[in-house]
């Protein structure tokens, strides 16, 4: 993002600047598609980040100033994220800092809520490089049905009563740190608790090298430590933790409501089109009732739903195909037969292969359109399964499609029960990757409703 003072001067926040009027915007603390974790240590006062314009230090003040300039619907509080392999001492420091920074962010939030914008403009612009590296507007679940929508409505109500400042309508998502250590995650979440001003939670530091099968336990360590009922009206966001559809599904099952675009960006960059089935056939039955690891049993119906076995020699697996493969040179079919997205309705696999082969930008545009559409449809299928009380069955079916499950069976039932109550909404893949940005809605939107693509 540009200089926060530019956005402040502009005055219409990320919605106006990115031409996203009418779409909810989430300002995330990092962009999982682009930026690595800082190579240099942070301090208790400032976070060190390494981005396109070099290394920067970000204090809570500078961070919140940028968030205020973005005027997002939701934002993640400043977090000292560590990777999964961080040493316990480093993780403990990260938890301590993140907790202190939450305090600072919430205090500044209140200031920015009250402060009329004109006063802010009179403040001397902070010195030094002004990029706001950590502010990455992302997207979130469709407003109509989601819990996030309900929360936002509540926030809208709060706007009227507050001071009309730039953050008057924004919800703070408290960063939950703790690396890959369940005890630290529990400690961090307990410290956050239900304090005033926390509108939701953001699971930070996941997708950084921990084993996917350990992830549900880490998420549980964070969420279970929150006071009872605190999740009833607060959304949970997680950034960058998904690298397969199973992981998305399992993250939702573990209690995540909002996810960002990392997975779509990742598969698109590899020249892949997602092809996994979204719904079980009507007559599908679990092979062994009550056994959670039905995955190895490829019963007839599941095998049929999965279609012919993927050909690993052309880069495909049972979730996606690789359009770089020369086997698609003359393939007149769409990326995914039956898909209603723009790319599938208008173009062939052969054309997409040619575009990749000639390094045309349009290759990414088409793949991104399809992959975003497919992931959105996946989230829709998950939402349906939750609202119809059959998430467990859906997960069993989804696992049965794999010869080797990437995520082990669940270890706890609490969150699934919470799901079944229907009080939370499934997470939605957000954002778009490289080629998309604002260009996408111009023509590459998906068939069933506008794609919500945001990337800065």
């Amino acid at each position: 993002m540009p200089n926060a003072s530019i956005l402040r001067e502009y005055g219409r926040g990320a919605h106006g600047f990115l031409c996203l009027e009418g779409l909810p915007v989430l300002a995330s603390n990092r962009d999982p598609t682009m930026y690595e974790f800082g190579a240099r240590p942070s301090t208790d006062k400032e976070l060190y980040v390494s981005i396109h314009s070099g290394g920067h230090t970000v204090s809570p003040e500078r961070y919140m100033e940028t968030v205020a300039a973005l005027q997002p619907d939701l934002y993640v509080t400043l977090c000292d994220e560590v990777t999964a392999d961080a040493k316990p001492k480093r993780v403990a420091a990260s938890v301590k800092r993140t907790t202190a920074w939450l305090e600072a962010c919430l205090r500044l939030h209140a200031t920015h809520q009250q402060q009329p914008q004109q006063e802010q403009e009179q403040q001397p612009p902070p010195t030094g490089p002004q990029d706001a590296p950590q502010a990455e507007p992302a997207d979130q679940a469709p407003a109509s049905t989601s819990a996030a929508g309900a929360v936002r409505n509540a926030a809208d109500g709060a706007t009227a009563s507050s001071g009309g400042g730039p953050l008057a309508g924004s919800l703070a998502l408290a960063a939950l740190a703790g690396g890959a250590l369940p005890a630290e995650r529990t400690r961090a979440a307990a410290a956050v608790g239900e304090r005033d001003g926390v509108g939701g939670y953001a699971l930070c530091g996941l997708g950084t090298g921990e084993a996917p099968e350990d992830r549900p336990a880490l998420i549980a360590a964070s969420l279970d430590a929150l006071p009872g009922g605190s999740l009833d009206s607060r959304p949970v966001f997680a950034s960058g933790l998904v690298s397969s559809p199973e992981e998305l599904l399992e993250a939702v099952a573990a209690g995540v409501d909002l996810l960002d675009c990392a997975y779509v960006a990742q598969v698109t960059a590899g020249g892949y089109a997602l092809t996994f089935p979204l719904r079980p056939p009507p007559d599908w039955q679990p092979a062994q009732e009550g056994t959670t690891s039905a995955a190895a049993d490829t019963n007839g119906a599941a095998a049929a739903a999965a279609g012919p076995a993927p050909d690993a020699s052309i880069g495909a697996d049972d979730t996606k195909i690789n359009l770089w493969s020369t086997s698609y040179r003359l393939d007149k079919g769409p990326l995914l037969p039956g898909c209603g997205c723009f790319a599938c309705r208008h173009h062939t696999r052969a054309y997409t292969h040619h575009l990749l082969n000639t390094h045309e930008m349009l290759a990414d545009v088409l793949l991104e359109a399809h992959n975003t559409s497919h992931t959105m449809a996946f989230c829709q299928a998950i939402r349906e399964a939750i609202s119809e009380g059959r998430l467990e069955r859906y997960r069993a079916w989804f696992r049965s499609l794999r010869s080797a499950p990437l995520v082990a069976a669940p270890r706890r039932g609490g969150t699934a029960k919470r799901r079944a109550e229907g009080d939370e909404e499934a997470g939605t893949e957000a954002g778009a990757a490289a080629a998309a940005g604002c260009a996408a809605p111009a023509g590459a939107g998906r068939a069933s409703g506008p794609a919500k693509w945001v990337r800065v």
């Binding site: 993002m1 540009p2 200089n3 530019i6 001067e9 502009y10 106006g16 600047f17 990115l18 031409c19 396109h52 040179r329 003359l330 007149k332 723009f342 208008h346 173009h347 062939t348 052969a350 054309y351 040619h354 575009l355 082969n357 000639t358 045309e360 930008m361 349009l362 990414d364 545009v365 088409l366 490289a434 080629a435 998309a436 940005g437 604002c438 260009a439 996408a440 809605p441 111009a442 023509g443 590459a444 990337r455």
Partner: protein, 476 residues
């Protein structure tokens, strides 16, 4: 609608796969309908270039929304990848890229210039070294037409012997002019789909009026469905450029009255479409249209977009300039493209352009194509409403508010019969090296020729408006 200032019947022509009908004319400018096998295109028109079967970053649906009537494909590049046999198997270029409107493929001849270091030209044809795998590929007139027949575009171009206008060897131009004629006969003989595809001849002759006259005479004698003016936009001065265009638009049908041979419109004078190759600067498009040209193509609007340069009525916006960091206006308030209609701030575009994000290229490309299509649409309307001279004066006033219209534009407008009184008020700017350099930049074709220097002309209002040419750097 059909009207002309002189009151004479408007010209038309009827070829097996192309009906050309001038619906309005004013001075030398004309608005026409060109019915191709896939689409009825309105001219004057600008045709975006989709070198390898894709106009960079845009979908075919977006191109249709932007009111593009014909797009280009490059024979040489498409034969390299994916190959015309494959394209034919996929239903031709139209089916392969899913574009239902008009298409035009070049002959591969331009790559003689843009890839000269990889090409060797003999009487038989051109031998290229493939930049993809190093293999040698001989492109003869017969092969060029064979490839284009397989690609299946509505308009195919004859292989011509292109010599860069900057070449300092008169004998080479003479040879190229006559060889182009010899090759057109080989192209005509090789053309296997004359009722489905239109073979256009290309006038050569460098900057020599006599050679151009000979080339035109020889091509017109072959009664082709349309004619292109080739060998321009290659570094010649603007002064030379417009004179060649003026000579050729006057000399091509109906300049030389011939019987049409079509029964129904026998009373109408005959005319054929005129295509000036490689023209994409908005000012050049306007000047050539005023001189009677109908079709234009260039990678300029799309390539310059990728460098962060947006086309606007005042000239160009170089979005990388720091002055746009706090400019919250849309690119062009009068533009109806999706980018401007949503009010995308210039400050946002500055931010993404300076970071080189692909989405930035897509947004500015979208705007620039919308701009060229709106420009040609406005010209057609002005001609049909018989107010074209006024429109040209308005266009030049917006672009040159100080009245410093370049000398070559003044001269060309005089020949076009458009008075610039009250428009070109400032003293005539000096011609010469600056003008020539600008012309060299107009070359912005395949090879990424031209200089990277910015003449810094036309700074207006501190907003970084540059009327001058966009420097062309790098390659696609």
């Amino acid at each position: 609608m059909a009207s002309s200032s002189s009151g004479e019947p408007l010209p038309s022509s009827d070829s097996p796969a192309l009906k050309f009908k001038v619906v309005a004319a004013q001075g030398r400018a004309r608005s026409s309908r060109m019915t191709l096998p896939h689409y009825t295109a309105h001219t004057p028109m600008f045709m975006p270039v989709g070198t390898q079967g894709s106009v960079k970053g845009l979908t075919s649906a977006q191109l249709a929304d932007l009111d593009c009537h014909v797009i280009l494909g490059n024979t040489y590049h498409l034969e390299n990848r994916p190959g015309s046999e494959l394209v034919a198997e996929m239903g031709g270029l139209h089916g392969f890229i899913n574009w239902q409107r008009g298409m035009l493929t070049d002959s591969g001849g331009f790559q003689m210039v843009s890839l000269l270091h990889l090409a060797e030209i003999t009487e038989e044809g051109v031998t290229f070294q493939s930049p993809v795998d190093g293999s040698r590929m001989l492109l003869t007139p017969e092969q060029s037409i064979g490839i284009q027949n397989r690609l299946g575009a509505d308009v195919i171009m004859a292989l011509d012997d292109v010599v860069p206008t900057t070449t300092n060897d008169p004998a080479r131009f003479v040879e190229a002019t006559h060889r182009t004629t010899r090759w057109i006969d080989r192209c005509i003989a090789a053309h296997s789909r004359p009722t489905e595809q239109n073979l256009f001849g290309i006038v050569q002759g460098g900057l020599d009026p006599e050679l151009r006259r000979i080339s035109m005479e020889q091509l017109v004698a072959r009664d082709l469905p349309g004619y292109a003016i080739g060998g321009l936009a290659g570094g010649e001065s603007k002064d030379d450029f417009w004179r060649v265009v003026a000579q050729c638009t006057a000399g091509l049908p109906p300049g030389k009255r011939r019987g049409t041979g079509t029964g129904a419109s026998g009373a109408r004078p005959m005319s054929k479409p005129r295509y000036v190759m490689g023209i994409g600067y908005p000012l050049d498009i306007v000047v050539c249209s005023a001189l009677g040209a109908d079709m234009f193509d260039s990678v300029y609007p799309t390539r310059t977009a990728r460098f962060g340069v947006a086309l606007v009525p005042e000239g160009v916006l170089k979005l990388k300039n720091a002055c746009f960091a706090r400019d919250y206006r849309p690119l062009d308030p009068g533009c109806s493209c999706p980018v401007c209609a949503r009010g995308t701030p210039r400050a946002y575009l500055h931010n993404v352009v300076t970071r080189g994000l692909a989405s930035a290229a897509g947004l500015v490309t979208l705007h620039n194509i919308a701009y060229t299509q709106a420009l040609t649409r406005a010209m057609r309307q002005a001609i049909e409403e018989q107010r074209f001279p006024d429109w040209v004066r308005g266009y030049l006033t917006t672009m040159f508010p100080k009245g410093d219209v370049p000398g070559w534009v003044r001269d060309a407008m005089e020949v076009a019969g458009i008075s610039l009184e009250g428009v070109a008020t400032a003293p005539r700017p000096p011609a010469g090296r600056a003008a020539d350099r600008e012309a060299a930049e107009a070359q912005g074709q395949e090879g990424g020729l031209g200089s990277a220097e910015d003449k810094g002309q036309g700074q207006e209002g501190g907003r970084g408006l540059k009327r001058a040419a966009e420097p062309v750097t790098g390659s696609a």
